[in-house]
């Protein structure tokens, strides 16, 4: 059939396009370098629609170029009066029916994919003991930070989402102040975190692709939410299923009140209480899920970024410097955030050193 032939002819075009697009962007951020089956499905739809559209554009451009080259007045003569054609039923039918067919070709996979991506049956599946088999993460979006709660595991973290590779991860998302949108471009499309209702969807993190991105994907807020909307980033650490189990165990066994490593840190712990930090920030991975006013700090010392944006590139000193900068000057780093900064009058330099020492020591998994 003609259609079949057309498809085969398009194959080289398809490959070429995929090749060109895959050069675009960074593997940890780009939707053009899909790193999981959700993103892959969406990427395939992008390619399919692009191919159909390129075909349309080529047809249009051929007619277009011929008509503006061939029928210039300079060419047809200044005084020529063209024949006043009314139209053509045959042509009208052709360019109505052909686009309808093209749209139908696109509509079928669109509808199919829309329903596949909304399928949450696996989320409800339980084993013999009645425990849920799928991993579920409750995501709570707040003014410029993210909370990730694992309700079945009894642990909670913030800013760095930790997930196992090669299995579906289910997300329940909601916002606690204004509307945000939860997006990990390389792994799949976004879903809005509404204020009044929970949305649910799933993502799948591909192990091999995750390695290309150094097991760290960038997540973004995709809905305008205030001055620091642009800075409401989070990171996704991907672990192999075994490592993920180890991480869960470590998080579950972490102490409710982490032991300070030295005297300075012990002083820091006091400052943490005196300054009222503890009113908003939990330091145990078991506390504060769904209610705390600020991010859980249990794993602060091992987060990939400070405040989700400041990259210390593994340098301990830089890490400390950024934590101090954040405490002193949070308002400049993320305008409009709900913590605000603590200047020298609020917090002496000595106390800041102690506090930073304490915070740097808040680690669970890398110990």
């Amino acid at each position: 059939m003609k259609n079949g032939l057309k498809k085969w002819r398009l194959l080289p075009l398809f490959t070429a396009l995929a090749f060109i697009l895959s050069g675009c962007g960074e593997p940890f951020l780009s939707a053009l370098q899909p790193a999981g089956e959700v993103a892959q499905m969406q990427y395939d739809l992008m390619l399919l629609s692009t191919i159909i559209m390129v075909v349309v554009i080529i047809v249009v451009m051929i007619i277009y170029v011929i008509s503006i080259v061939k029928f210039r007045r300079a060419k047809v003569g200044e005084n020529t009066i063209p024949k006043q054609v009314e139209g053509s039923h045959k042509l009208e039918i052709i360019w109505t029916v052909v686009p309808i067919i093209l749209v139908l070709i696109l509509a079928v996979p669109t509808v199919a994919a829309t329903f596949i991506l909304a399928d949450q049956t696996e989320m409800e599946a339980v084993d013999e003991e009645g425990n849920r088999t799928a991993l579920v993460v409750d995501v709570r979006a707040n003014l410029y930070w993210w909370e990730f709660n694992y309700p079945d595991l009894g642990i909670v973290t913030a800013q760095d989402l930790v997930v196992p590779t090669d299995q579906n991860v289910y997300f329940n998302v909601i916002a606690s102040d204004v509307k945000h949108s939860f997006w990990i471009p390389a792994v799949g499309g976004k879903i809005d975190t509404n204020v009044e209702n929970m949305n649910t969807f799933y993502l799948h993190f591909d192990g091999e692709k995750a390695q290309e991105a150094d097991n760290l994907f960038y997540g973004k807020c995709a809905e305008l939410c205030g001055p620091s909307h642009a800075l409401m980033d989070f990171k996704v650490q991907t672990l192999s299923p075994e490592d993920f189990d180890n991480w869960v165990t470590a998080m579950q066994e972490a102490e409710a009140e982490p032991e300070p490593q030295n005297d300075l840190a012990a002083r820091g712990e006091e400052v943490f209480g005196e300054q009222g930090c503890i009113g908003c920030h939990a330091v145990s991975p078991a506390q504060g899920a769904g209610i705390s006013q600020g991010p859980n700090l249990a794993t602060l010392g091992e987060r990939s970024r400070v405040a989700g944006i400041l990259d210390y590139k593994g340098d301990e000193e830089q890490h400390e410097a950024y934590i101090k900068e954040w405490i002193r000057d949070a308002d400049r780093l993320k305008p409009g955030n709900t913590m605000g900064g603590y200047n020298e009058d609020d917090l002496s330099d000595e106390d800041l050193d102690a506090l930073t020492e304490y915070l740097m020591g808040l680690k669970v998994y890398s110990e």
């Binding site: 992008m46 686009p99 669109t110 976004k190």
Partner: protein
Amino acid sequence: MSTVVQKKGFFPVLWDYLTTVDHKKIAILYLISGGFFFLVGGLEAMVIRIQLAVPDSNFVSAGLYNEILTMHGTTMIFLAAMPLLFAFMNAVVPLQIGARDVAFPFLNSLGFWLFFFGGIFLNLSWFLGGAPDAGWTSYASLSLASEGHGIDFYVLGLQISGAGTLIAGINFLVTIINMRAPGMTYMRMPLFTWSTFVASALILFAFPPLTVGLFLMLFDRMFGANFFDHTMGGNTIIWEHLFWIFGHPEVYILILPAFGIFSEIFATFSRKRLFGYSAMVFATVLIGFLGFMVWVHHMFTVGLGPTANAIFAVATMAIAVPTGVKIFNWMLTMWGGSIKFTTPMLYAVAFIPSFVAGGVTGVMLAVAAADYQYHDTYFVVAHFHYVIIGGVVLGLLAGTHFYWPKMFGTMLNETLGKVTFWLFLIGFHLTFFIQHFLGLMGMPRRIWKYLPNQGLEVGNAISTVGAFFMAAGVLVLIYNIIITQVRNERVGNDPWGDGRTLEWAIASPPPFYNFKQLPLVRGLDPYWIEKMEGNDRMTPAEPIGDIHMPNNSFIPFVMSLGLFIAAFGAMYQVDWRASDGAEYGWAIPVLVIGMLITIGSMAVRSLKDDHGYHVHKEDLEKDDEEGGRL
């Protein structure tokens, strides 16, 4: 009576414009104020592009950036694109159908002044504590949380100017239904009239949802209601629905008249009748109809479920079909014609590939599952700038050059026009094409800054360079307008030489009563038909007689001014109540006074009979001998 006005000073001219009910002068008012807001919106766009030129930039602060992006969108849609389209509708549609004015000249003036005061009110926010900062969509959770009066300016300003738009839409509907010249059947109406007709119908049905949404927001923000406050049982998603039930048809309200302008230009400069006229009319109506069935494609990621998403995805794709029909008919209009590349025609020719590019990304966005990736990224920013600039703004620029002689009696310089065209076109593609890729590479829209090392630097730098080309193009256009008006070289009825429709059959600019005798329309492109039969003018459909004209009126201005004043009272009474009456004691009185001014002027209008006046037969005949300048 402002009939005999030849050489006048500044103030008489100003008074004439403040009180005019003549569709041609109202067109000029729309053109000037729409053009002014276009420059304001463009300036805001330049700040956005400068801010994003380099990573981690601090050219503007985060809060100010959100105000600028909000005002850029709001200004361009409501205060630039729509009024500029109304300018051409007012200038051309009554002439195209052979009418002496619109059906309700008083309402026409009222519509303009409501838009004008609404726009001024909205922009005064810059000087009174900060502009709105929740995006032009003003989603409810963020807009309710927004501090200060920015959102109040948005709600009240758009409410006032929206009323003006609704009035203008109704006016055009009635005009086109009732005031067509003898022989001007529906299927002989020029495409620009048809698209104005359909766009006006869309205004009639699309603006009420916006009005409702704005009222709910107004009560939430100013009078303590809780329609959108979820902690009190409200729901923010309702705002999204109301906004997009308006917002999607709004896009077609903008693009359809632009399609109309292009249809006229293609036919004129190809010296050929529009190919597939009836299919074009049908496609226009179908696009307008389908435009109401697709709003959820703006909300695919809200979580409405796969059934809703799938239905709206397929409905959205369906719009590609009538739009495609139009594109092919335009190309076939050129095919076999005799194409003259004047400035308007260059815009029309450039419009096809630009709009096709915007159209195909529209179909891509309709693929709901893939839209989860595109939504709220620079891909969407690229898409809607491709349709709005590639469609609407190119249409407006084409219309400016094409209809300038008819509106002002002078011809914009063609060389400068072409310079503007090339600068603007190159700048436009340079700015926005790369943004498709930025979006797919992970850049969300409406971001104040992006951090380095995310692969977004090069694309953004290119985009900013393009924006400067566009700005340069606009500056050349302004220069062109100034020198053209200073030189003031008058042109005749049909300066392009290939005019086909009725507006080219009368003087440029037309006398204030338009047609001395209503023309007899004998087919599509009536002036062309007469020209082909060797006639230099239309066959009259009536003997010369007295012409009934409306009187000028200052009432529309005062009526709109009253609402403008009342809006300040409505806004500051919030502070008055917040301070327990200690401050802003003037707020409620101002609200009352403003409303009284409006209601009072409505009463005057209703109670005082104004029968207008007649231009007498003898004066018309004398006018003819003096060269048509009464």
